[in-house]
């Protein structure tokens, strides 16, 4: 029997009895960032492959919401800061050791890129849009001409953004549940899956919907595979990681994780999308809504559970 208690009465707000310094803002941002990365990834990918005609929603319509997602995400990040007036300090240094620093700089690059994508497609919503000034028209012509180059740059930064949302967590060895390098690819794939789901929601083109749904099915499969791998890794690791996995294997997050993330957010949409492939009639908007719900839940549950996991001493 071993009992460890703090006898001097430490009760630092948000630290004790267990860490809860990151509230809803961080997982919300991670979701929005992952979603933005997913949408940009598909838009850029189909431009590179020269399939703009086959995937009009992915290339033309979906990128329009990316700047909104990123701005909402950045605003959530800003709300998370406790010393708000000093936020500009992020952009006075580049600290390669700090994932948050290069994440901030990645956002500094990908946000303008998302604005370019939205600007190039603005006529999808406002058909008679006019840029008014000549230099803006020249700029548009320039990006239209070099759209493939833009797509390569975009795909590169979209992957960094998607992976970064996971690395933000996995770089902390103090939180054993997060301290697994699988979190990077898991969040990237989850972000791409929610991106694909959003494209399906927006799409009015049956063929495009079907094709993206098939991609989404593959992504859900990879996600399940990564989640199983994550738990295998935890259970084969040290006591602290076994304990952290137990938060999901009998601990307080068991029901939430397996029901909301795995069952409703991954397996159910996978079954529905498979049935669709076999010509069953299922309202097209149900699987993507479930996928998006699962993506949000994954981040919220991992953010809260991760802060509860800790070293023993």
């Amino acid at each position: 029997m071993r009992e460890e208690i703090i006898v001097s009465g430490r009760m630092n707000p948000n630290i004790d009895p267990y860490l809860h310094i990151w509230h809803w803002q961080i997982p919300l941002y991670l979701f929005l960032g992952g979603l933005a990365a997913g949408i940009l990834f598909f838009a850029a990918y189909f431009v590179i492959r020269g399939k703009e005609k086959e995937y009009p929603t992915a290339v033309n319509l979906a990128p329009l919401i990316v700047p909104i997602l990123l701005i909402l995400g950045l605003f959530a990040l800003f709300l998370d800061l406790k010393h708000k007036l000093f936020f500009w300090r992020l952009y006075t240094v580049i600290r390669l050791e700090s994932p948050m620093s290069w994440g901030a700089w990645t956002l500094m690059i990908i946000t303008p890129i998302s604005f370019i994508w939205a600007a190039l497609n603005i006529r999808q919503v406002f058909p008679r849009w006019d840029w008014k000034y000549k230099w803006l028209k020249d700029l548009e012509a320039f990006f239209v001409k070099y759209k493939v180059v833009l797509a390569w740059v975009t795909i590169f930064y979209a992957v960094i953004l998607g992976v970064y949302t996971g690395i933000l967590f996995s770089a902390f060895n103090a939180r054993p549940l997060w301290n697994t390098s699988i979190l990077g690819p898991l969040f990237l794939v989850s972000g791409m899956s929610t991106g694909a789901a959003t494209i399906i929601l927006f799409s009015r083109n049956h063929e495009e919907r079907k094709s993206i749904a098939r991609t989404d099915l593959l992504l859900i499969g990879i996600e399940l595979f990564l989640i199983v791998h994550m738990f295998m890794g935890f259970l084969a690791s040290t006591q602290v990681q076994i304990d952290s996995a137990n938060l999901f294997l009998g601990g307080p997050f068991t029901a939430a994780f397996w029901m909301l993330v795995v069952a409703i957010g991954l397996i159910l949409p996978a079954i529905l999308e498979s049935l669709e492939l076999f010509k069953f009639r299922i309202p097209y908007y149900i699987p993507p809504i479930l996928v998006i719900f699962g993506g949000i839940m994954l981040r919220f549950i991992l953010a809260y559970a991760g802060q509860m996991s800790r070293w023993l001493y």
Binding site: S8, W22, L81, F87, R89, R95, E97, N173, T238
Partner: protein, 177 residues
Amino acid sequence: MRYAMAVDTKKCVGCSDCVVACQTENNVPIGYCRDWVVEVTDGTYPQLELELRSERCNHCDNSPCVRCCPTGASHYEKGGIVTVTHNKCIGCGACITSCPYDARYSHPDGYVDKCTFCIHRVEKGLMPACVAACPTKCMYFGDLDDPKSPVSEILKTRKYKTLIPEAGTNPQLFFLI
């Protein structure tokens, strides 16, 4: 120069004077603390073993908080003391999350705060407030590079341990056992 602290778990009585001394010296906001006392009880009655530890920031040689700080607000001061520059800190909480000892907290004014080894006293040649106040004299502070410093002297003669060395932080707060 490498400042370090040693706490004698055999002499500590868990009175929490170090906590109050720190709160007074550093004007720590009410409801917060930079150091704390942990009581560990091992075994079953009547075979019980007790360990008392006065804990604080470990001023690690390889600090995860300094590594993850996006603005460079968390940094190493002279002698390896880890401190936070208030007007560089954005309060993002990364360092709080990164600390395996949960030694940091978010000050009500927004910036992140923690034990400074009382750097303002140490620079004047004084002992940190907790060390100076300890009624059982169970704490030793000084420069590890100086073989004559109190902390070097005691570490030469006693067995000691650090907290969670497996986290790779190389802590500089030693517990004499």
